[in-house]
């Protein structure tokens, strides 16, 4: 159950962040694309949370400390390059994770087999934009590099084993690094040299330790539901 909660919260929280782009995207095609990714993730979240309990109780009535998502997905959108860096890091992780889960005998095999197709598109979307922004104009290059560096310290947490997720975490980590490095290099970007963990953030999100913006995010998300206890929507 820890596992379903961890993977479900990742999808739920990232979906919420992507939903915040609605009406603000840089071009109409990206309104469609970002909403599409957000919808895929929300669909995954609903399946995963339903394995644990009532999806709405879990999404709307848990306190901040009870969420088990990695800190990467809760990071605010920033500019489009920042969002794309977050997408690149997370979608690469999620594709490798689901690929392994889809072939194993875990309770997530069915979900993973379906989701891996969606996530392959998310990764393709992120990689294409990383290339365009990294190798586009001087300004886009600089912004993309900033996003890649700023989020780097949240990536180590992706490879902390999650109880109940029976995969080869070491190969997930090396596969991720190989894939991300190749894309960044092709995009003429520098692979960040800093640590992949902050001072005390190793596995923090999975233990319910989040960053400050997350509290405000779920306050907004939960407000209406909590204002009408017991109501149906």
């Amino acid at each position: 159950m820890t596992a379903a909660l961890a993977l479900g919260d990742d999808a739920l929280v990232l979906s919420h962040r992507l939903g915040e782009w609605a009406g603000h995207a840089p071009v109409l095609e990206e309104e469609v694309a970002l909403a599409n990714i957000a919808l895929d993730l929300l669909g995954q979240a609903r399946v995963l949370l339903s394995l644990v309990g009532d999806e709405d109780e879990l999404a709307y009535l848990r306190e901040e400390r009870a969420f088990r998502n990695v800190q990467l997905v809760e990071q605010p959108n920033g500019d489009f390059a920042h969002t794309i860096a977050r997408q690149l890091y997370f979608s690469t992780y999620q594709r490798l994770l689901y690929e392994q889960l889809a072939t194993g005998e875990s309770p997530f095999a069915g979900l993973a087999a379906k989701a891996v197709k969606e996530v392959a598109y998310h990764q393709d979307h992120a990689e294409r934009w990383t290339l365009r922004l990294g190798d586009g104009t001087a300004e886009s290059h600089e912004r993309m590099q900033r996003g890649v560096v700023a989020l780097w310290r949240f990536t180590g947490e992706l490879f902390q084993p999650v109880e109940g997720v029976e995969i080869d975490w070491r190969s997930l980590n090396s596969g991720w690094l190989e894939s991300v490095t190749a894309v960044l290099q092709q995009a003429t970007l520098t692979v960040p040299a800093g640590p992949q963990f902050g001072a005390w953030t190793a596995g923090a999100g999975r233990q319910g330790i989040h960053t400050e913006p997350f509290g405000r995010m779920i306050a907004e998300m939960q407000h209406l539901h909590r204002s009408h206890p017991g109501a149906s929507w």
Binding site: L12, G23, H24, V32, A35, A38, L39, S140, H228
Partner: protein, 334 residues
Amino acid sequence: MTAVTADQTAQAGAGRPEGADEALEAAFDRAVAADERIEPRDWMPDAYRASLVRQMAQHAHSEIIGMQPEANWISRAPSLRRKAILMAKVQDEAGHGLYLYSAAETLGTGREELLDKLHAGRQRYSSIFNYPTLTWADVGAIGWLVDGAAITNQVPLCRCSYGPYARAMVRICKEESFHQRQGYELLLTLSRGTPAQHEMAQDAVNRWWWPSLMMFGPPDDASAHSAQSMAWKIKRHSNDELRQRFVDICVPQAEALGLTLPDPDLRWNEERGQHDFGAIDWQEFQEVLKGNGPCNEQRLTQRRRAHEEGSWVRDAAVAYAEKHTAVRNGEATA
């Protein structure tokens, strides 16, 4: 590319012998009269082209501005099911914007140019989106009433004389009717929910009813573009006809919802076989149209900001494409 084609057409027109335009116009009139579709490469009067561009642009702009009041509730949607429905709906609106800008492009006017006009305040979008979404029930009221009014307006456009517009409308109307049912179902759930939810639903209907009736435009005797558009079969029913049709559809639906429509003069007229309804506040309509609605400033500011803040992204995409097309071409010749 389409702009070049339009220029070429104009040049060709300038070089034509006397009387050729009359023959073309007569052929166009016959095609319209016979309910044939006019296609992008067909000759058409300049005024017909301009009128279509104006209408399609306004429609496209309405789709993308209309994303804002609903997107306002995505982050607060009270259940995951509703959140998914709302996100999908807002995404559909972006998609409708894309089809409509593409359809307008077939007349030689590109998306960039139309967006510039929107941002400069030189083209309009539907005034309904200048009203705020204050509660969750507004999402339902928009679906039921605003999408309902839009469908009443748009279903006849599926038979519009201009082919690309008519075809875009077929797809859009299917999705809109889906949205309308979802909005109705949202309101029904609220109306049958707790007293606070019921009150929220009634309040939203009270606020959205009259602006929805205004969506059909000014009364027939005061509508600037109506007569010519009807003659060209861009438009097939008058504003007042469509408004009446909408009222007649809504009355039984409101009863089924257990909600009242905020009009003391609304009653069945046995003689006419239609509902009578109260006077619309055209003063308010004109004020909102002039830019003095509750959200005109906010909507346009957000649109301009998204466009301006996105300019470096669009520039990067162009620069990347140019760079890599050049590289590929270089490789091909080497």
